[in-house]
Amino acid sequence: MDNTVSQEKQAFYQKLGEIAGAGNVLTGEKATAPYNVDGITPRAIACPTSTEQVTDIIKEANKARIALVPWGSGSKQQIGPCLEAADIILCLKNMNQIVELDASNYTVQVQAGLVNGELQKQLAEKSLFFPLDPFYMESSTTGGEIAANTSGPRRIMYGTVRDLVLGVTAVTPTGDIIHTGGKTMKNVAGIDLCRMYIGSWGTLGIITEAVLRLFPLSEASKGIYATFASAEDAFRTVGQLLNSPLTPSAIELADWIAGRKIAEAIGSSLNEGEVLLIVNSEGTNDGVERHGKDITSLAGANRAKSTFALADEKASRAWNAYRGVHEAMLGASPSALQGKASVPISKLGDMYKEAKKIGASQGVEIGVTAHCGSGILYTYLAEEHERLVRITDELKRAAASLNGFFLIESAPLSVRKGADILPPRNDYPLMRRLKTEFDPNNILNPGRLVGGLH
């Protein structure tokens, strides 16, 4: 039995080169080591150049029961439940072209391997942009961002992935090419398979193309950076801001641990216990002007220590410092852990307090950033294994008691292997049936997402 399987696998590896072209299949330790994922070094890296090649590879993989791992730039491969197997990395880096830019319809069709940052450069030449701005957007691919359902600060104004992706082309785990959604803003024809692929983490198919919603570059933009001696004052400011007719494009918070570099970039500083609130606005000159004025006075009324209104160069320097926090905090230590709490918007200040309380009682520094308009709070800490598990258990309890949840995102492999990554839900059985229906042989990203629940 084992022999036949390995013969089939042998035949598969041979066909892989025939399908994708020998030059697009990498083997050997040197080539495969950088693609080590969840402790598994894959046998080969295949870089197909078309949707049809992806289809052919998937069909062959089904015959030989080969585990395929879709890969964009790899920036999110450490998130979520661990893989059970990873025979072949199916890397989409060669599929990185704009298929059609329809500027007058404000849409662009891209191949999934196109890097977000690269797309933005090409769009800027036409005075357009794509408002999706998750972590790693300079290097992450649009297909990967859709599969991982990652949204950034601009979500408060433009919505999340599901609001910005109008359609995807995907290859199902059994090798069918399907087209979902389209180029129109409104589309209710049939079951909405496009949304099924958003956040499916490569377990229901491989996204090979996507149609994205674009917006014209704004006439003006401004960032208000306000420091507060007390986090409570900052969260009160957020509450009042959200209850106003103002429509900021980002409401972000960083505590004194995560915000140190940002404070430096704006010529300020944060003492222990202090926080930095960043409120961006973009649009027409008059609208941005009004936002700047109102937000500054709102911060002042809530006892902000100092407030900086930044535009142009200064604003982008400060914003880049904020954007760099995630990678800097994670890169600071091999035992660093990043988790994400999602709680009701009005409970974000309570979640912040809980995180700080847990850090203090455990004697560990927990750095915090937050998307304040969405109830999302990121925690960063570095500790040894046992304590990471204990602390994250407490963070999970705290988030759950606020009617939200806490997820471990990036963490040392040993922690991710041992911990329950996903919060309890009662719709997992249905999700698992969906996975089984679409991927009966469990060849796509086995173990990821609901595949990790037993």
Partner: protein, 472 residues
Amino acid sequence: MIAQSIIKELARIVGKKNTLADLKDLIAYSYDATMRQELPDVIVLPQSTAEVSAILKLAHREKIAVVPRGAGTNLSGGTIPVKGGIILEISRMNRILEINTADRRAVVEPGVINLDLQNALAPLGYFYPPDPASQKTSTMGGNIGENAGGPLCLRYGVTSKYVFGMEVVLADGEVINIGDYVEDFPGYDLRGLFIGSEGMLGIATKLTLHIIPKPEASQTMLAIFDRLEDCSQAVSDIIGAGIVPEAMELLDQNICRVIEQSVKAGYPTDAAGILLIEVAGLADTLEKQVQEISQFCQKNKVRELRIAQTNAERDAIWAGRRGAFGSVARICPPYIVCDGTVPRDKLPEALHKVGELSKQYKVLIVNVAHAGDGNLHPLILFDVNKPEEQEAAKKAGADILDACIAMGGTISGEHGIGLEKMDAMRHMFDPADMAAMRRVKHVFDPDDIFNPGKMFPPEAEAGLPKEKGAAR
């Protein structure tokens, strides 16, 4: 026909007075805004999730079709019980359970009427953006079933953007929660699959909605054009300049005439087309928006640009648009509503094509459109006593949808497929696409209990999906 014993059992679940099986009741629930009519066997009006679950357990045991129904305002045949069975009407589940402005959420039962929710939110300074023309009567559950749109969706997006979580009863009576009150829940977006699934995957019994603060100020305009081409070109120019009004509705001369016969909206009856434009936002930004829009209208030879000066004037302008379908029904009850949608810049081309088809098939077509979204609503009128005219109207409707597909558009922007557009599904999707949709249906509802005989053209019923994999 289902057995009397089943009807008795249903009556035990929801009460006798909430179980309707008289012929007059069956007839009342046999149709919607489309032309087909089929009798259900029984109508039940549950009041709680537990009752809905008990009904489904019974239906599942007996393999009886269940058609979820809100107010029955749908425009695609979605609630017509083509296979008989049970109509499950959610109108008695109409409580607003929670409004939390600090969390930007409202939790409601599915029978809450869209406008009732708006009226509860307005005093708090908040609103729920999707505003289908039927909002006076249509339910939130129905809005979710069809993924409803509306004029304001141009700026704010459609229903799917505003539904965060749902309590859902599955085909075997199991109650689960999909989506969440909070953002970024992990796992597959079952909520995304459920929204717009036309009652074919399950029935939602509780909805968590996203609400937002009302804009500080708004301004409503009526732009009157002598040529329809100019009217639609003005839309393209405004959108092309990156201006996003709250709403931008186009109405042609025919519909204006019809509307003025029943609603006194003050629309001109001698102009080729009008645009109803509303801008909103911070008070400081409105003047400039109005100015820019009026420049684009002028560039396209606008005859007159009226700006509403009072709330009464604003309401009158809107009353005409909201009463459009009703006004048509008053003069000519049988009509086909198309819902084809094209990429935004293709609107002039699409309207031109509709005009051509009207001539070709010798049928009267009146046009309203959510113009900024490229969402057309040509209403094709015909005499129900002239079969050849009815046939011509159907053909014109099918040709309009094909033309939308050819322009890179879709067969439905907000009304759904139901019975009406089943044939057009084949023109829009490959067999593989439909097979994947049917897989989803199979996972949620392997026995085809929920709203059978809809959406998929009959020949797609054969073959797929295979009976493997998703067994529980």
